[in-house]
């Protein structure tokens, strides 16, 4: 069996099954949905950060674009939810295409420019001058398509696809090429790897994932404001979850979401400042002592982390 399929069966399938069965035992479906959402987003971010080294600080921009793509398709085209979801993914990809020139920048400049771009999308959508089209700062309501069960199921399907994608990136030819160019772009280019094309494809894939996540979020929650869809903490959570477990692995971001988002729901909701303090300290500690996440601890002991 190819290693990608093996990893997917060992790690991906159990996670999807777990979240498919949990609603039978646990009533708070919104919380479970948020877990699934962050699993998708963390893996989407992993696809671009883990495999190309570009850290999209404004990742939430694609998520928000997807949420509003879904909302606009429902409000103005009266599109059925699944079609609207495809348009949401398309919105993410289009925004990704528009921002492709940012890939010319390196490291921190890319992250800052990406953050600024996400802010701009937010400021345009939330602008009262566009209230006729986007409802501006007043938020959208999509009661006509509200379907929590169906949207939860669709979110699980997206999660399965994304986990499969990351498993393939880890072991497939394309993902190996990406990792080679992440570690040393010049040598990779010398070995005949099309560096530019690889980066753009990974970038657009990750934009597509966030767009779909935004769309399914809009569908599930059905009433939201621009501040919710473009909340910068969505980017931050996805980054911290990925860093915590270890980027460029399949299990790392999953572990990050389960541990940290679990922790957030235990203490973060009642006293957000203390949670902010904890994850601030966690980031500092990770960067100084474990820049490659907890997966690197295991790997150092010779244990292979899928």
């Amino acid at each position: 069996m190819p290693r990608a399929a093996r990893d997917f069966l060992r790690v991906g399938v159990p996670v999807v099954l777990l979240f498919a069965l949990l609603p039978l035992a646990y009533q708070n479906e919104l919380l479970l949905f948020n877990f699934v959402l962050f699993l998708i987003l963390a893996q989407g971010l992993n696809a671009v950060y883990g495999f190309t080294g570009y850290l999209p600080f404004g990742y939430v921009g694609f998520f928000g674009a997807g949420a509003y793509g879904f909302a606009l398709a429902v409000m103005h085209l009266a599109a059925p939810p699944l079609l609207a979801l495809l348009l949401a993914g398309l919105a993410g990809v289009v925004l990704g295409l528009i921002l492709t020139p940012l890939l010319r920048l390196s490291g921190a400049y890319f992250a800052i420019a990406n953050l600024a771009a996400a802010q701009m999308v937010y400021q345009v959508i939330a602008n009262p001058a566009l209230a006729d089209i986007t409802k501006g700062p007043y938020g959208v309501s999509l009661a006509s398509v509200f379907a929590p069960r169906a949207s939860y199921a669709v979110a699980l399907v997206i999660l399965a696809l994304v986990l499969g994608l990351v498993a393939w990136l880890r072991h497939g030819r394309f993902g190996l090429a990406l990792q080679a160019m992440r570690d040393d772009p010049v040598s990779a280019a010398m070995a005949g790897i099309p560096v530019l094309r690889g980066r753009v494809v990974a970038w657009l894939l990750s934009a597509l994932i966030a767009g779909l996540a935004g769309g399914v979020f809009a569908w599930h929650i059905s009433v939201f404001y621009p501040e919710t869809a473009f909340d910068i903490s969505i980017s931050i959570f996805a980054i911290v979850f990925t860093l915590f477990g270890g980027a460029a692995t399949l299990t790392g971001p999953i572990a990050g979401v389960l541990v940290l988002y679990g922790l957030y729901n235990v203490i973060g909701i009642s006293v957000p400042q203390y949670f902010q303090l904890i994850y601030g300290a966690l980031i500092v500690g990770l960067v100084l002592f474990l820049p490659r996440g907890f997966a690197s601890l295991l790997r150092r002991r010779g244990i292979d982390v899928p």
Partner: protein
């Protein structure tokens, strides 16, 4: 109206130069991105607020205290964090994430200590009345803030170009490796530059209540974007280029507020992206940041 916007723009530009100055110095010397810059500025604002309301110290006399205090805070912080960071692979990117964590810590601690209500220092603390220039009147607090900013730029210029330590600092900016090879204690030079960077942020914070409105623990991240826009438009890694970035930003901001007020918030982001894409090295710059 146009003249007023331009004049106000220049005044704001001077202030925004000060906002970006420390960030640019730290980047130029250490090649690390201090994402907590806006939050240090916020701490400066709170320090000025408490000195004014509890110790009845006017912002102008509080400013030197804050500058010295923040400089002294910067030295141990540098040794605690930066040498370890500089030794790692891809220090620039990691510094970005690390200081993001620092930012979260500062913001959380400030919210716990000060609460999240908005605070302000009354404008009369910097004198009453308006300053008249070419038939336009500007609030006195704006003009004083701008003059302090210009004084800070001048002081940094004198430090960099007319002292021995400044010469060493410029050597480290030009090439860290060669500076080390020629026997310069780069950690000492960098620690002092880091301290100066924090001191400049604190100084900018003292005048933030007059220029940016009320202060809250969460104000840092918005200021960060403005500061980045300023130093990217100016020139990253060239502290004195910040002046140009500050002026472009200030004049642009006031023009937008006068003629297109609904879209004025877009300005820092728009400037940042346009300059990064069209002229990634900044308006004056050498090339540093293409992938």
């Amino acid at each position: 109206m146009l003249l007023h916007a331009l004049l106000g723009g220049v005044v704001f530009g001077c202030y925004f130069t000060l906002v970006g100055l420390g960030l640019n110095l730290v980047f130029g010397v250490m090649r690390i991105v201090n994402l907590a810059h806006g939050d240090v500025l916020m701490l400066g604002s709170f320090a000025a607020y408490f000195l004014f309301h509890l110790a009845a110290l006017s912002p102008l006399s509080a400013a030197p205290l804050i500058v010295v205090g923040f400089f002294l805070l910067g030295l141990p912080f540098y040794y605690l964090v930066v040498p370890r960071l500089a030794a790692s692979r891809d220090a620039e990117m990691l510094s970005f994430i690390l200081f993001f964590g620092v930012q979260q810590i500062i913001e959380a601690l400030a919210a716990i200590a000060f609460g999240s209500s908005e605070r302000s220092i009354p404008g009369r603390a910097l004198g009453i009345g308006a300053v008249h220039l070419w038939g336009q009147s500007l609030p006195r607090a704006w003009v004083i803030s701008a003059l302090v900013a210009l004084a800070a730029v001048l002081a940094l210029y004198l430090y960099l170009y007319h002292t021995r330590l400044g010469l060493l600092t410029r050597a480290v900016m030009a090439s860290r490796e060669e500076a080390r090879a020629s026997g310069i204690d780069i950690h000492r030079v960098s620690a002092i530059a880091f301290g100066i960077g924090l001191a400049l942020a604190g100084l900018a914070g003292v005048f933030a209540p007059f220029m940016l409105g009320s202060i809250t623990p969460a104000m840092g991240s918005i200021i960060n974007l403005a500061a980045f826009a300023v130093i990217v438009v100016g020139t990253l890694g060239n502290p004195l280029g910040t002046v140009l970035g500050g002026l472009v930003y200030g004049v642009g901001l006031l023009l937008m507020q006068t003629y297109l007020s609904a879209w004025a918030d877009l300005l820092p982001n728009l400037l940042l992206i346009l300059v990064l894409l069209v002229r990634p090295s900044g308006l004056l710059g050498r090339r540093v940041r293409l992938a």
